[in-house]
Amino acid sequence: MTPTLIPWIPALAAATIGLISLFRSEWNRFAGALCAGAIGLSFVLTLWLSSSVGSGVVESGFYDWISFGSGDNAFHAGFSWFIDPLTVVMLLVITGIGGLIAVYAHGYMKGDPGYWRFFAYVALFIFAMTTLVMADNLLLLFLGWEGVGLCSYLLIGYYYEKPKAVAAAKKAFIVNRVGDFGFLLGIFLCYQHYGTLQISTMLEGARETLAAVAHGHGAVTATDVWIPFLLMVGAFGKSAQLPLYMWLPDAMAGPTPVSALVHAATMVTAGVYLIARCLPLFELSPYALPTVATVGAVTALFAATIALVSNDLKGVFAYSTVSQLGYMFLGVGCLSTDGAVFHLVTHAFFKALLFLTAGSVMHALAGQLNIQTMGGLRHKMPVTCWLMFAGCLALAGVPLTAGFFSKDLILGDALAYAVDHGSVLFFALTFLGVVTAFLTAFYTFRLWFTVFMGEEKFEMGDEHHAADDHAGDHADEADAAHDDHAHDAPHEMPWSMNGPLVVLAAGALLAGLVLHFTGGIEHAVQHSTAAVFVDAAHSQHAGDPAGDHGGEHHAYFLGVDAHVFMQVLSSILAVAGVVLAAFVFWMKREIADKAAARFDKLIRFARHEYCINEICDAAVVLPLRRLGALFYAVDRLIINSVMDLMGGLPRWLGMGVRPAQNGRIQSYGLTMVLGVALLAVLVLVATGG
């Protein structure tokens, strides 16, 4: 029962909020508390569940959702759960971070006319996301997958009176359609191939094939090779990897807590989860995982370079999210599921923190997003300043912060993989990852120094938060105290909003350390996906004694253990990046300006996302639009007239039959008798023939 409650409590909250808005709109103000409470309850249940799961598996059903046929042709898809430590980790992230963000949003969204709508969507999102990670079959997973897509669409388009938000929502939806189409085809193929959509059964089948191939009998079929590529398309779409990444930066048009929850911490990691969950399916194809790793690494670098030059406060973090997701894909691509999931968890902490602090800055500056207009805000917003500093440290991968451990686990595993297999490709990918690590440190602190250090300057944006307009309307003392100078100067957020951020900051700084040395999540995830490695023919892990840390394998690069090498290297690079950023963007601003002038064209080009959107427009959108125009013309000229004709037909027929309905009993009797006679003749004819 506990697993069932985890998604359904938020679903119930969403329904309740919706009903309240319909029937008791004066209670709308409780929406935030209801939503946060429901997610919190789910979090508590998840904790309880995690103790019962341990390192095993809990399977539980809710009800038989779809059931057709019998015997061999039977098809079943239950609303039922498969919960192993990987699921628990995902659940903890979703409900834990989700709860904190809901608390923050309670303050952030205060006074917004769509207050209840926001929380209804958020609660619905948590329902869909938890269903996604708990599903025991691909169909239910797809339900959650589409559910989060829908909520994402609704939340991006939350400010539906802004054309930009609506366009962004549509873009997210359409780009995701491309990915989902691939995913759906993958699901069809899975059913075709395995005869079931139960994930555990499918994985069992895949492992058997792997073992058979490893022992030299049995072969990988074409279907086996195709399935991972189709699933991959879905994962890339949802997790904003090249070439389906372009919806995520635009998605920042939604409210900032949404960016933190949906587009940084949880939904976009669904692709990583999918690949981690279905890893045996991917191992069946010799090209699948290298493709995943390559796409991940290239995306990581690509997005980092854009983040380097973007002047948009949330845009930098958006590209950085794309980049960090790339790391996670690199991680699963080199069979480092533990690294990928570890990074997923730490990233959820620090990226949520960064987005929320960015939201605070934005909130204080009435919607201002251009970082070039900001500077020296540390005096006005000291708490926000240092909270964001903590997040930036983690993102930059400064030693001992969360990002350091997780990122280096991925890079170390990638290097070890390259050494083990002597794979040039993976050496190259590791190199890309290292370069990205340096860029990450640099662009992160470029932003932080620009905004919080240097001379104090700011320009207010054009948005007026209702909370500011109605100063004193609500009894929030902290807010009221700041409302004295609210209209012309940025102010610190109340502690009701900063409170959750402190928790996130603690996570961003310490989670890595704790988890690294206790081996907590890492061990759990390793354990749950351990079986994956056993029969993997091309994995060297199998033969290793599993005694040492999490089954970690010692590969030596230039005579040094790959992981140690990577830790040292990236520590140096991270610190170098931070120092360089401090030098360029704080101490000697003129260098930055000079460089900007020098590389003006290149920067513009990068800021323009290397014209990817234009290329995409020219290559995909424009032809489609032309085709659409053609179809429209055909539709108007030919089909419409035919349809008008056909639409008119029932009307004419109706008008023709109608006089028979003249209201007279005799004529009705006559109709009946004639009809009987005609049909009797028909039967006679049929008997004769």
Binding site: Q661, N662, G663, R664, I665, Q666, G669, L670, V673
Partner: protein
């Protein structure tokens, strides 16, 4: 011919039943007086009754005759209902013409 008529066979009875039934049908369609229309439906029932009794005799069992008893019962119940309705309508319009009642149409 005469012989055939002097010793009626199953088909004669069936024909009688069918003729009664069709007469009722024709009457229902052509009559406008509601009481007459109702009597026509009764005539159709009686056609069926004749048929049932004829079959009963033909098969040599009494099931058909049992059926007839029930049909007559139902016919009686319908008669009561019909007269009630006709009186109700007559009170409104002072006419028994069925075609006066065609406000509902289309």
């Amino acid at each position: 011919m005469l012989l055939a008529l002097s010793s009626p066979m199953l088909s004669h009875y069936l024909l009688t039943g069918a003729v009664l039934f069709v007469l009722g049908l024709v009457g229902f369609i052509s009559r406008r007086n509601m009481i007459q229309m109702f009597l026509c439906t009764e005539m159709m029932f009686q056609g069926v009754v004749v048929t049932l009794v004829a079959f009963s005799a033909f098969h040599g069992n009494v099931t058909g005759q049992t059926f007839v008893i029930f049909v007559l019962t139902i016919a009686a119940a319908e008669a009561a209902l019909a007269l009630g309705l006709v009186v109700l309508l007559f009170r409104h319009r002072r006419t028994l013409d069925a075609s006066a009642w065609s406000a509902l149409n289309g």
